[in-house]
C-alpha cells in the first residue's frame, strides 16, 4: 500500500501538508523542514530515516504536537494541531498520542506499574484492567511491576516505556530512536513489540531511527535529507536501507 505524498490524504490518520520549519532568523536561519507533505494511514508502522540534521526529529516533533511548524498544517485523527492552544495540544498528547523515547524517560520515583499507568493518572482516568493485563503480558514485565526503574535493565525499562505509550490506546505512537540505547537483543525485543502492536492491536506507529536494522521492522520507509522527503516506499531489508542512506549521504 504505497501512498504517494499528498494522495489519499483523507484516509491518513496523521497528515502533514506543506510543512516548513525554520529555526533562527535572517542570514543564520536554518530550514529544518521544507515543504513536507506526508500522510500516515491507520494501523501501519512507518520508519523515518535520515542523517543527522535531515529534519527527521523535527518532523516527528511537529507531527506529535511538541513543536510548531513555521508554516503548513498537521491533522491528527481529524484534529488540526497547528492552530491548537497549549491546553488542547497537551490534552491531545495525553489522550491521542503515545511516546517512546531513546532514553526511556521513566520516572525514577515510580515503580514499573505506576510508570505504565502514568498517562492515565495524569488524565485522572481509571485503567482498563483487562487491557492493562494484556499489555504487560505482551511486553513481558508482569514479574517486574513493583520494581523501580533503577532496578530494571535497559531493555526492561524500554518495554515498560512501550507499555506506557500503549496504555491509553492512543491514535498513534511516536517512537524516537527506541532502540538507540539498547544492546541488539533488547533492541530486537522492543522492535518486535512495536511490530506486534501494529499487527495485533492495530496500533499506528511512527518511528524515527538512524538504525537500518530497526527500520527493517517497519511497513514503510521514509528517508529525509535536508528537510525534504527523498524516499518514500515499502519496507526494505536492512541492507537496502543502508544503501538508501548511503545514497543520500
Amino acid at each position: 500500500m504505497d501512498l504517494p505524498p499528498g494522495e489519499n490524504g483523507s484516509e491518513a490518520l496523521v497528515e502533514a501538508r506543506t510543512l516548513s520549519r525554520r529555526y533562527g532568523e535572517g542570514e543564520a536561519a536554518v530550514d529544518a523542514l521544507s515543504d513536507v507533505t506526508v500522510g500516515f494511514p491507520s494501523s501501519r508502522f512507518a520508519a523515518i530515516m535520515g542523517p543527522s540534521g535531515s529534519g527527521k526529529s523535527t518532523l516527528m516533533h511537529i507531527l506529535a504536537g511538541l513543536d510548531r511548524p513555521t508554516s503548513g498544517s498537521v491533522r491528527l485523527d481529524g484534529a488540526e494541531l497547528t492552530t491548537m492552544n497549549d491546553r488542547d495540544l497537551t490534552e491531545m498528547r495525553r489522550d491521542r498520542i503515545g511516546f517512546i523515547f531513546q532514553t526511556f524517560n521513566l520516572l525514577p520515583v515510580l515503580n514499573a506499574e505506576e510508570n505504565i499507568l502514568l498517562p492515565l493518572s495524569i488524565a485522572g482516568r481509571k485503567p482498563d484492567r483487562e487491557w492493562f493485563d494484556r499489555l504487560i503480558d505482551t511486553v513481558g514485565i508482569r514479574d517486574r511491576l513493583s520494581h523501580r526503574p533503577a532496578e530494571l535493565s535497559g531493555g526492561q525499562q524500554q518495554r515498560v516505556a512501550v507499555a506506557r505509550a500503549l496504555v491509553s490506546r492512543p491514535a498513534v505512537v511516536f517512537a524516537d530512536e527506541p532502540s538507540g540505547n539498547l544492546d541488539s537483543k533488547a533492541s530486537g525485543d522492543v522492535l518486535d513489540l512495536l511490530r506486534h502492536a501494529v499487527d495485533d492491536f492495530g496500533q499506528t506507529v511512527v518511528m524515527v531511527t538512524h538504525d537500518a536494522h530497526a527500520a527493517s521492522y517497519a511497513d514503510r520507509l521514509l528517508v529525509l535529507a535536508d528537510g525534504r522527503i527523498v524516499h518514500d516506499g515499502e519496507s526494505v531489508t536492512a541492507d537496502q536501507a543502508l544503501d538508501l542512506m548511503k545514497a543520500v549521504g
Binding site: 495525553r94 503515545g98 511516546f99 520516572l107 520515583v109
Partner: protein, 858 residues
Amino acid sequence: MLSLVLRGFVQRKLRVLLTAIAIALGVALMAGTYVLTDTINHSFAGIFQTANKGNDVVVSPTEALGSQTRSQTSPVTEAMLSQVRSTPGVAEATGAIFTPATFLDTQRKRLTTGGAPAFVASEVPARFESFKPIKGRLPAGPDEVAIDQATAERAGLKLGQRMIVAGSAVAKQYTIAGIVEFGGGESFGGAGAAVLIPTEAQRVVGEPGRYDEIDVAADPGVTADQLRARLRAILPQTVAVRTGAQQASKDTSNLEENLSFLRTFLLIFAYVALVVGAFIIFNTFSITVAQRTREFGLLRTLGASRNQIMRSVVIEGLLLGVGGSVLGLLGGIALAPGLDQLFKAFGADLPDSGTVLETRTIVVSLLVGTIVTVLAGLPPALRATRVPPMAAMGEGVEIEPRVLTGVGVLIRGLLAAAVAFVIAALIGSGAVFAVLFVVLAVYVTRLLVRLVRGGRPARHRIVPGLARVIGVLVAWRGITGRLARENSIRQPGRTLITAAALTVGLALVAFVAVLADGTKATIDRAVSRSFAGDLIVENSQAGNQQGIPALVAPAVRRVPGVASVTPIAFTQGRLRGSSGNATIAAIDPRSFEQVYRIEWKHGSNATLLGLGDTGTVVTKGYASSHHLKVGKTISLLTPSNQQVSLKVLGIISDNVRLLGDITISLPLARTAFGQREDALDFVSYAPGAGTAQVQPAVDRLLARSFPQARSRTAAQFKQDQANQINTLLALIYVLLALSVIVSLFGIVNTLILSIYERTRELGMMRAIGTSRRQVRQMIRYESVITALIGGVFGLVIGVVGAVVVTSLTLSSSEYVQSIPVGTLAILLVVAALAGLLAAQLPARRAARLDMLQALASE
C-alpha cells in the same frame, strides 16, 4: 579560578541573587538594629545636651539602686535650694521639676499615644529654660500651661483651649497659654511636655516644696568644676552634684543602658535569621557541588589540585558573603526607620532624627555576614575536594561520605566548638553564644548519630516517614500529589536541611507561643485563686508601669457600695551583700487579707498586722535563694539611699507573683522607700452591692478626678494581662517572620535546583500530556510537603523545648503548662501557605520549560 567563579555567577544570576538575599536579610536586621539604636542614642544625647546647656552645675537625687530605680520622693528641698543660692560663686539657682504625668483632652482622651511618655516641667528662669514659646507665652499663673508643639499638633490643640494634666494630685484643667519647642528645635522624641509654673508643677506631681533637680549657674570667673566642688562639700549624700556636661553624659549613658536591652532583643532575631541563612547557604552549596561533580572531575583530570577546587568553592562563598552583606547593610539602613515604625505600632515611641551610621555598624555587618556565609559553604567545599577525576567520565558518581571514627567525631566537634567560641568572642554577645551553642549541639548530635548508625544518617528514615504521612494530605490530588511526595523524599538530606531552615523560625515561634500561653494560664489561675476582691483600679496604661495616685484609694473608699479598698505599691530594695535589686510589694496590713488569699508557708494573716516599720514577709523562692529564715533580720538599701533593718516574720508561697520577693507595710514604703504612688487598688463591695452599680460609680469618680486610672473586674484584669502578653507576642512574631522569610528563599532555591536536575523528567511528563497546571501543582505540593516537614519539626522542637525549659526553671512557682493548640494548628497552616508562596516562582519556571530542550538535555 576567580574568573571561572565570576562567570559561574553570571550564568546563575537568579540563584546567586536568591542565596545572597538569604544572608542579606539577617545582616539587614543586624545593621538596622545598630542604625536605629545609634540614631536614638544620638537623638537623646542631643536632647540632654540642650537640656543642660544653661547649667554649670546640676544637683539631682543620688540613684542608690541604679538609674532604673529612682525614689519617687526627691531629697531636693526648698531648704537645699536656699543653701545652694547662698553659696559663694552661685550666680543663679533654680529648682526644676521634670516628672512623668498624663495629658488628656477635656473628653478624658489621652493626648500621647502608645507608650510615649509625657512630662510635667516647671518653668525656670530664662538662662535655664529649654522650652521656647513659638506661639503664645510660658504659663503665668496656676491655671495656665504651655505644651510642646508635637503634642499640640497631634491633638489639634490651639491657644486658649483647655486640657487636663493628671499627676499625683486630683486632675485639673488648664488653659493653653503657649505652644513651645524644645531647645534648638530638635525633636523631643515622641515624648510630650507640659510646662507649668513651679508651684503648680510641684502640686501636680505631688511634691510640694521639693524639686527633681537644682540647676545652678556660676558667677563669672568661677568654673563649673570649682562650683561643683564647693556644692559637693556642703550638700548631703542623698544628692549627686555634677557639672552640666557631666549630667548630660550621665543622662545619655543611662539611656544607652536602657536601650541596650532593645539592641540585644533585636540582635537575637538578626542572629536567628543569620543561622537560618547559613542553613540555606550550606544547602545551596551542597546541591551545586553535587550538580557540578562532573565539572570538578574534569578540572581534576586537567590537573587542578584539591586545594584549587576547594579555593574555587570558598571564593564563591566569599564573594556571595560580601555581596549579601553589602546588600544587607544597605537594606539595614533602609530598614531602620521601619523598625522604628514597628515599635511605634507596638506602643514604644522612640525619638530619631537623621540616620546615624557608625563605622562599627559597617564593619560588624560585613564581617558577620561574610564569615557566616564562608563557614556555611565550607563543608560543601571540603566535599568538592573529594570528587575523584573519574567523575569527569560518567554521570552520577556518588561522593562517598567518609566513614567516621570516634576520633574523627571528637576532632570535628572540638574544631566546631573552637570556631563557635572564636566567633562568639569576636562578636562578644551572649545571644550569639546561645545561638552558636544550639547549632553546635545539633551538629555534635548529628555526628554522634552518624557514628552510632555506621554513617547512615537518621534522616533517611525520619524524612521519608514524615513525608509519607504529610503526603496523604495531597495524595487525594492524584498523580501530582503522589509525585510531589516521592520527589520530596528523593534526597532526604536536602529536603531535611531545606525544611530545617523553616524549622528554626517555627520552633522559636512555637516556643514563644507555648511560653506565652502558659504565662497567661498561670496569671489566670493566680488571679482566680488569690484575688478575693471585686474590682481592681489601675493606670489605664498599666503595661508601661505607670502607677496611680495614692489619693485614689481614699476617694474610692467613699463610693457607695464599696466596703474596703486596699492599695498595693511596688518598689525595690537591695539586700545587703547582694548585687541585684529585690522587688518589694507594699501593702496595707489591715485591709489586705480581705481581698487577697495568701498561701502561707510560715505564719498567718495575723502576721501581716505585725509588719509595722520593722517586719517583712518574704516569698519561699527568695527565702531559699538568699538563705532567709523566720526570725532573721535583713538589711535593705532603699531607692532613697536609706538602710532599713527588717525582721522576717513569715514566708509565703510565691505562685501568684503579685507580691514580689519581699513584702513590707505601705507606711514604711512611703517613708523609707520614698514611694508616693500606688500600683493597684483592690476594691471589695459591701454586702448586697454588685458590679452593675458600683463599677459605674467608681468609673465616674475616676473620670472626674483621676482620668489616668480605670477600674477592672477580675475577668477584665485577666484579659488585660493576656492582651499585654499578646502584644509582646505579636512583636516577637513579626521579628521571627524575617527568619521564616529567609527560609522561604531556601525553599525557592532548593526547588529551582531540583527542577533543574529533573529537566528531562519534566520534559517527558509534558510530552506525554501533563498540563502546565499539573506541573505547577506538582511543584507546589512538593514545596508544601517540605514546608510542613519543617513545620512539624519546628512545632515539636518548640513545644518540647518550652515544656522542658519551663518545667526545669519554673517548677517551684507552680507554672501552669498550657499548649495553644489553635495557635499551633494555625502555624502549620502558615507553614503550608509559606511553602505554597515559595513554590510560585519555581512552579512557573517548571511549567514554562521548553519541552524539546528538556528532552534533548543530557
